[in-house]
Amino acid sequence: MELIKPGTNINFVGKMKIAFMISLGVIAIGIASLVVHGGLNLGIDFAGGTLVQVKFSEATNVDKIRDALGTINLENSIIQQFGYKINNEYLIKTEKSSSELKGLSDNIGEALATVYSKDEFEIRRVEVVGPKVGKDLRQKGILAIVYAMIGILIYITWRFEFRYAIGAILALSHDVLITVGVFSLLNKEFTLPIIAALLTIIGYSLNDTIVVYDRIRENLRGLKKGGLEHIINSSVNQTLSRTILTSGTTLLVVGALFFLGGAVIHDFAFALLIGVIIGTYSSIFIASPIVLAWESVKPSKRKRKR
């Protein structure tokens, strides 16, 4: 079976300008959304606070839970359905953390017990993060992404050339920005596992990009006729079949995770899903054309390592 017929030659590089415009547009929308929302919807990992996951044995509703929490003046907490409706699971979130209210989670249990009987609900998860830790994790998360990018920049400069590294880093930043933008648009919560997902996206998208770069390097070595533009275009086409296949298999499993993995991991899988799609797009339309664009800004001396 063949999805992409050999000899396919789509002019990807020619669509460079359109692709750049689209990407910039999407990134701009994401940034606008960030501005409108006043930053990301930070989860308690980063903002500090308390999260309690409760499973009820029978259907209930947010108002009833809110009433129960009113007994300890926590009626302003965020209360939301978690996972599928049939599971009767709810998340209760407050900005307060242990340092302000000791034993908050126990109090929530006691407050619920005023409205529900003890065997009608089960506290399944409690997370309390102090503001100090939240700040630490925020810094660590940003640092992790920055360090990963630097490490990658160095590796690609060593294995290829600096302009390839620039292309790869811009493509990765593109992927991260768009994924973050989508999270902001949908007002999804940004948590520690999402940072892990972003780093995975970086790894995955890079994987794709490297495969194309590798082909460009190989074709340049053969020094076939035609300029860099031609070589880049045919390299993208030669690897197109692989790019689509691998994205396909990865999407199959990430999709399985998204639909079957359960509520706790749902947003994580969602980030991966977005990231894989964007990462595939960027390695075709962004990473390689940037190498070409860089060439017109700052022509290389045609000295290549290896």
Partner: protein
């Protein structure tokens, strides 16, 4: 070449058998005990097995403060003993000692005392007014560092003791950065009780009740007379069930602390059937207790735990033998936990909870089930797709995929790595990406065939050309995973571990193992066509 295939085949089989060897104990329990006992099961993270994750901060400043308090008391005693005239010896701003010396002679002798007996104190400043010297003393900064470091070590040790006595299996208690302690307690069902047990300072003090001054007056003024302090007893009223706070006026001086205890045990009182904690002092403590009770017959002695009065009985007679008891309205669990913390000793400084995460066992099991389900469904989809797309070569890739899974799980068990929920996601992702190496190789082989090469040449060419790409691509992913490992905590770290292991294992199975299969068919079976 044939020799070579045999050797590679043996290597592959040995590696895979090792994977199976480490994996099996996690899958089934019907194995010889020699095998089961020596190979660990895959270690599950708290998010999968349920339990509690705590990050505590030791308030080391408080440890410094209490050290300064002790030193200032000792200084006071020495100055009185040597008859050096001073006034207003106080601790200010937590860690500074100030005092006023009456004259030049007192100043000179004071300087000697500091030199000879208190080498850890430094004079920050001194002011002369009307022939009197006001002195400001602090601890040397090196001493402060030592106290802080010791406070963290001591807290670690004490918490370890408490947790051990509480009976949690496989607890992890490790220091983190300067003054933080990370605690992982698998399977803890009652987080409130565990936090109480771990976080309680458990400073036990015996103080006399101040019966010379009026409690009411002190309460009205809101300030206790010099040398005394106000403390409260918290008692549950048996009729109304409400918590009441009963005030006490106590002498500030601590006569005896929990340091002098040898043992603490839960006993049941004969009269009311209520639990109480029986204390046994060590020999020095017993002598002190004997002297204290002898000197203060008919006075009230308060037993204060972490600043809260537990009881304040009247000393009826001198108590020799070194036994005492703490009564109060505890439940059996509370009495039991109190005995543990008293046995394990007080924390040198209070601790603050920075982070607490508790996952109930049912949620953990849910996550495992759903994670496995996604692995299985995702895996089946990929396997079907590969077979459809690449025919027999797809089957070869699928064999590699299954072996890859076995190796990842085996490696997790062998390296005692922890599998977390994001870790499961890492495995799922690896399945998707593991076939990537094979896709790269197969696409290259197809290209070689299009150039009209023989199967032997096409396969050799495909592998060698794809190899560099695969290595470059995987190393960059590995860089991201390693950074994640360095910066992540708990579940995220688990994800980095499975992703890294997955990358390494998939390179082995997708390149090394599949090549053996091809070479076997081409060189042994002399296959002329390749289904790809």
């Amino acid at each position: 070449m044939l020799q070579n295939i045999k050797l590679r085949g043996i290597i592959a089989i040995v590696v895979i058998l090792a994977g199976v060897f480490y994996l099996l104990p996690s899958v089934t329990s019907s194995l010889p005990s020699l095998w089961k006992d020596n190979v660990d099961k895959i270690h599950l993270g708290l998010d999968l097995r349920g339990g509690m994750h705590l990050v505590l901060e030791v308030e080391t400043d408080k440890a410094v403060e209490s050290a300064v308090e002790r030193i200032s008391n000792a200084l006071k005693d020495v100055l009185m003993e040597k008859r050096i005239r001073f006034r207003h010896l106080d601790r200010v701003n937590g860690t500074m000692i100030t005092l006023e010396l009456a004259n030049q002679k007192a100043s000179d002798r004071f300087a000697e005392v500091i030199n000879d007996l208190f080498p850890n104190l430094v004079r920050q400043n001194s002011e002369w007014t009307n022939g009197k010297e006001k002195v400001y003393l602090t601890l040397k900064s090196k001493e402060i560092e030592t106290i802080k470091k010791f406070a963290v070590e001591q807290s670690l040790e004490t918490i370890r003791n408490r947790v051990d006595q509480f009976g949690v299996s496989e607890p992890e208690i490790i220091p983190q950065s300067n003054d933080r302690i990370l605690i992982q307690l698998p399977g803890v069902k009652d987080p409130k009780r565990a936090i109480n047990l771990i976080g309680k300072t458990a400073l036990l003090e015996f103080k006399l009740v101040d019966e010379e001054h009026s409690l009411d007056e002190a309460l009205k003024k809101g300030i206790a007379p010099a040398g005394s302090m106000i403390a409260y007893e918290s008692r549950i009223d048996s009729t109304t069930g409400q918590r009441r706070k009963i005030p006490f006026l106590l002498k500030a001086k601590t006569l005896l602390t929990g340091d002098s205890l040898e043992n603490a045990q839960v006993k049941i009182s004969d009269r009311f059937g209520e639990p109480y904690v029986a204390l046994k002092f060590n020999s020095q403590g017993a002598r002190d207790f004997d002297r204290i009770t002898r000197e203060n017959v008919k006075k009230r002695l308060a037993i204060v735990l972490d600043g809260i009065v537990h009881s304040a009985p009247v000393i009826q007679e001198r108590i020799s033998g070194g036994n005492a008891q703490i009564t109060g309205t505890f439940s059996m669990d509370e009495a039991h936990d109190l005995a543990i913390v008293l046995r394990a000793g007080a924390l040198p400084a209070p601790v603050r909870i920075l982070e607490q995460r508790t996952v109930g066992p049912s949620l953990g099991q849910d996550s495992i089930d759903k994670g496995l389900m996604s692995i299985i469904i995702g895996g089946i989809l990929v396997v079907l797709f590969m077979t459809l797309y690449y025919r027999y070569s797809g089957l070869v890739a699928n064999i590699a995929l299954i072996l890859n899974l076995i190796l990842i799980l085996g490696a997790l068990a062998a390296f005692k790595a922890t599998l977390t929920l994001p870790g499961i996601a890492g495995i799922v992702l690896t399945i998707g990406m593991a076939v990537d190496a094979n896709v790269l190789i197969f696409e290259r082989i197809r290209e070689e065939f299009r150039l009209g090469k023989s199967p032997r040449a096409a396969i050799a060419g495909g592998y060698s050309k794809a190899l560099i790409t695969i290595i470059d691509a995987n190393i960059t992913t590995l860089i991201a995973a390693l950074v994640l490992f360095q910066f992540g905590t708990g579940p995220v770290k688990g994800f980095a571990v499975t992703l890294s292991i997955g990358i390494v294992c998939s390179m082995f199975t997708a390149i090394f193992v599949t090549r053996i299969i091809y070479d076997y068919f081409i060189w042994y079976k002399k296959v002329e066509t390749v289904s790809i």
